[in-house]
Amino acid sequence: MHLASYLGLLHLAELKLARAYLAVAEAHGDEPDVETLCRRFADQCTAHADALAPFADRYGEDQPEEPERLHSELFGGTRGGGLGLLRDLHDLYLMATECEVTGTLVAQAAQGARDADLLATVERAQKEAAGQLSWLRTRMKQAAPQALVVAD
C-alpha cells in the first residue's frame, strides 16, 4: 500500500503552501487584502497538515525530505510591484493546485481503504482549498490587466 507516501506528499504540500502564503503576506503588506487572506490561508493549510497527523500514525507516513529547499522554489527573494504580486499569486495558485490534486488522490485512496475518518478530514480541507483557489484566481484576474498592460 502506497497511501502513506501520498499522505506524506499531502502533508508536505500543505506545509509548503502555508509557508509560501506567509512569505507572500509579509512581502505584500501594502496590499491589505492579500496580507489578510494569505495569513488566514496559511493557518488553514497548517491546520490541514496537523489534521493528517493521526492518519500518518495509522498508515506510517513516509515523510519526504528537504521541505526548506522546496519552499525556496517559490520565493527566491521578494518580488515587488504589480508584476511581482501577480507572479507571487500565480506561484501560490500552482502550489495550491498541487495541494488540491494531491488531496483529491488521497481522498480517492481513503475511499478505497474505506477510511471514513480520513475521507472526511480531507474533504473538509478540500473545501477550503477550493476557496483558496477561487480567491487566488479572482485576485489575479483583477491584477493582470494593470500589471501586464499598463504598469511601467
Binding site: 491589505p32 510591484g81 476557496g131 494593470q146 499598463v150 504598469a151
Partner: protein
Amino acid sequence: MAEDGRRDGDRIADPWGRRTPYGTGQTWPVRVDEQVGDGAGGPVAAEDQVERWVPSACVLCSNGCGLDIGVAGGRIVGVRGRAGDRVNHGRLGPKGLYGWQANSSPDRLTRPLVREHGELVETGWDQAMDRIVERSRRLLESKGGGAFGFYTSGQLFAEEYYTLAVIGKAGLGTPHMDGNTRLCTATAAQSLKESFGSDGQPASYTDVDHADTLFLVGHNVAATQTVLWSRMLDRRRGAGPPALVVADPRPTPTAREADLHLAVRGGTNLALLNAIQHELFANGWVDRDWVAAHTVGAEELERLVAGWPPERAAEVCGVDAGQIREAARILGSAERLLSTVLQGVYQSNQATAAACQVNNLNLLRGMIGRPGCGVLQMNGQPTAENTRECGADGDLPGFRNWHNPAHVDELAGLWNVDRMTIPHWAPPTHAMQIWRYAEQGSIKLLWISATNPAVTLPELARVRAILEAEEPFVVVQDAFLTETARLADVVLPAALWGEKTGTFTNADRTVHLSERAVDPPGEARADLDIFLDYARRMGFTDRDGRPLIGWDDPEGAFEAWKACSKGRPCDYSGLSYDRLRDAGGIQWPCTDDAPDGTERLYTDATFPTDPRECEDYGHDLATGAEQTPEEYRAKQPGGRAFLRAADHQPGPEEPGGDYPLLLTTGRTVYHFHTRTKTGRAPRLQEAAPEAWVELSADDAARLGVADGDQVRVESRRGAIRVPARITGIDPGTVFVPFHYADQAANELTLTAWDPVSKQPVFKTAAVRVAREG
C-alpha cells in the same frame, strides 16, 4: 410660529423638532420647517425676503427631503420643506435648514487653478482644460485607458454620474472608476446583490408607517437621517407604536429610545446576527413554507447558525445571552418587520456578510415586499444611489452585470462602441485599489470630483503622500479649496447644489429634480458642463465617428440615462423633467406600466436572481472570491432570493497590548463628511466646532481622565489631540467623529476593507488614550 406648523423651535437644540404622532397605517402628518435669513434668531432682513421659491431636495444626507430654495436678489436666502413631498412631509433637519448658507461662503472657488512652480495659481478655463487634455491624450496613446483613475462622489447628480461613466467606460475605457460611495454604501449595494441578485432598495419609507417592529442595526438614524427618525419617533408616540430594537456599541439617542438596546462590541455584528437566526430556527419562528418557495440556501444557513447559540455569541459580542434571546423573540413574533442597516455594519468587520444576515432575517420571516415588511439597506450620501446605478462607481450602468456578455453588448449597442472598449474583463477597480495603483505609479491621472479623500480615506498619511507625489497628475473638481484640492495639479471650480439642474435619488428610490435657483459664483461651472467640456475637447466618438456624448444639457443627459436604464431594475423610462416638476418625488422603477413609480420591490416575492437578469453572480462572503457563471447557474435561483451564511471572523486589528482600546468612528448630527459645507454654515459650525473622543467612565477612571480633559488618541499609524467626553459607551471602546480635518479620526484608522464590498473598515482600529499634561 409653531401654530401654523412652521419654525417650531430651534433645530440645533432639538434636531428632530416637535412630535406629530400618528397611528399604524395612517399618513404621517405634515409639519413644514422653514429657515430664511442668517438664522441668528433675529427678524429676517429686508434683503433676505424671499422673491421666489425653486423646487429641489436636500443634499446633506441620504434621506433626500423635498424642499424649496428661497431666492432673493440672485442669492439663496433660505429653504422650506415641501409639505406634499413623500419623503419628509415638510420637515427638514438641522443640516438641511442651515447647510445652504455655505453656498454664499466668501471662500468659494471662482476661477480654475493650475500648479506653477509648486504653487496653485489662477488661470482661465481654456488653459486649465488644455493642460488636462494634453496630459490625457499623451497617456491614452502611450498607456491606454488603464492609466486613468476617476474618484467621484455621492453628491453629484445622476446626469453628471452617467456622463462621467460614459466618458470613462466608452471614451477612455478605464476600469478604474469609483466614488466615495465605496466608503459609504458599497456594502448596501453588495449585500442587495448577494441576497436578491441586484442592487435596489427593497422597502420604502412608508413602511415605517405600517411596521409593528423596527430593527436598526448599526444605524444611528437619529444622527444620520434626522427626518426619518422623526417619522419613527412619531410612530412611537402614536397609537399602536412599533417595537424598537437597536444594535449599536454606543448609547446613541436611537439606542436610548429603543425597547431593547444590544450594545454589540465593535466588529462582531455577524456573531450577534447568527445567534438571533439560531433562535429563529430553534423556536419555529421561520416561515418554512415561504422560505422553501422563495429562497435558496436555508439548509446551509440553518446548519451554520446551529453553531451559534446565544451563549457563544454573548462571549464574542459582549451582549447578554438573555438579551439576544429577547431580541429574537421580538423579531420572531413581529407581524410586520422593517429592518434597517447603516455604517455600524457597512464600515465594520465582515460588512457584507453581516448586512446579508439582516436580509436573511426578513427572508426567514417571509416579511418583504408588503406594507411594513422589508429591508432598508441605507445609503449615507444624498446621491449615492445614482453613483451606483449610473456606473460612476465602476459597476456597469443600469445594474448590469460585467460578467454577463449580453449585458455588455447592450451597452456597446447603446453607446455604439466596440464591446472591447468597455471594461468588463474583471471586476471594476475599487477605490482603495485605485489609490494603490496611483501609489505604485500605474494610474497616472487621477480625477477627483466633489469629495475630499485627504480627510475621508483611512490612513491619511499614505493618502497625502500619493497626492503630493510627482505622479499621478491630480485633477480636483470642487466648490472649495479642500484639503485635497490644495494638493492638486489642476483645480476646477464647480457649481454647488442650487446653482445647477439635475436629478438625484434617495435611499428609498425617490427621484427628485433639483432646479438651478441661482448662478454659480465667478467662473464656476456645473460638474456636468465640466465633464461635457472634457469629452468635447478629447473628441470622443462612437463607431461611426459621431460624438460619443450626444447631449449638452442636464435634460439631454437625463433622457440618455433613461434609455440606458430601460428594462433594468432601476428603470427611469417613465420619468421626465416635466413629470418630476409636476409630481415632486417619484420612486423608481417608473415605467409606462407603473407611471406613478413603485413603492416597494419584490411584492410578488420574485427576485432578480435569474442568471440573465442578475447584476452579480455572487461571492464567497469570507474571501470575496467570485462565483463563476457556471457555479451561479448551478444554484438554479430562478427568481428566489439567496439566504447567505457566514461564520464570524475576528477583525483586521484587535485591541490588545500597547493599543488596548477599540476605536470606532462616526458622525455628529450637525455635520456632513468633512464639513466642506456644514463647517461654513455658522449655526452648524457653532453647534459642533471641534472633534472629541468618547470614553466610558471605567476607562476614563483607569486613565485618570476627567470630562473635558485634552487627551492624545494614538494608533499604530498616527495620533490626534482631542477633548474627552465621558459617556455610556461600552467599556473598552472609544469613539471619534470623522468630520474634522485638523483632528482627523482617519489619522488613526487602518487600511483594510471588506473582502466582498471592498468598503474600508473604519470602525475597528486598536488605539491607546493618554491625558495630555
